[in-house]
Amino acid sequence: EPEVTQTPSHQVTQMGQEVILRCVPISNHLYFYWYRQILGQKVEFLVSFYNNEISEKSEIFDDQFSVERPDGSNFTLKIRSTKLEDSAMYFCASSPGQGSYEQYFGPGTRLTVT
């Protein structure tokens, strides 16, 4: 069964540094997403991406964040100038079509900012 993969599984960085979280969505999916989950809290939507552009973003997704699909398989989330409060699990997801509530999530990257 195809699955979404994410690397690294755990990333430790110092405050102020930039990190890039990587995702490989399911190959025939067209819609890509990033969510985050702070420890013990809800899963929060960050951004959706389709046809090489952002289709929707939350208020969390400010200028500190950016997404990119640098090639035909990878989907990345860049976080600039990381803060302590950016520490969370970051989940990538993909879906085959728009408005689909069946999104396939990756295993997540645990980001720890020290």
């Binding site: 899963v43 959706s48 728009q98 689909s100 069946e102």
Partner: protein
Amino acid sequence: LAKTTQPISMDSYEGQEVNITCSHNNIATNDYITWYQQFPSQGPRFIIQGYKTKVTNEVASLFIPADRKSSTLSLPRVSLSDTAVYYCLVGLGWTDKLIFGTGTRLQVFP
């Protein structure tokens, strides 16, 4: 987006049927009802989706009454591996974002 209310936690024993009810009084005509499952340190996983009446798949059943103001996720004969958080989501068909609430933490005991 319709607000959802579900129990914070539930306990069950292996082999029992578990029913988790979600209230969504302000559900709109276009809204579908979707349930996700999340194991610790893993991403959420789609379980089932429905619009009205009953939907069944190999994992669960979803019961939706005629007024659609609530829905019930039914897990038949749970096992220890069904211990997870279960989320009820209700949203608009033209947005892609999933809005998760706090979910129901199901604990299955031997």
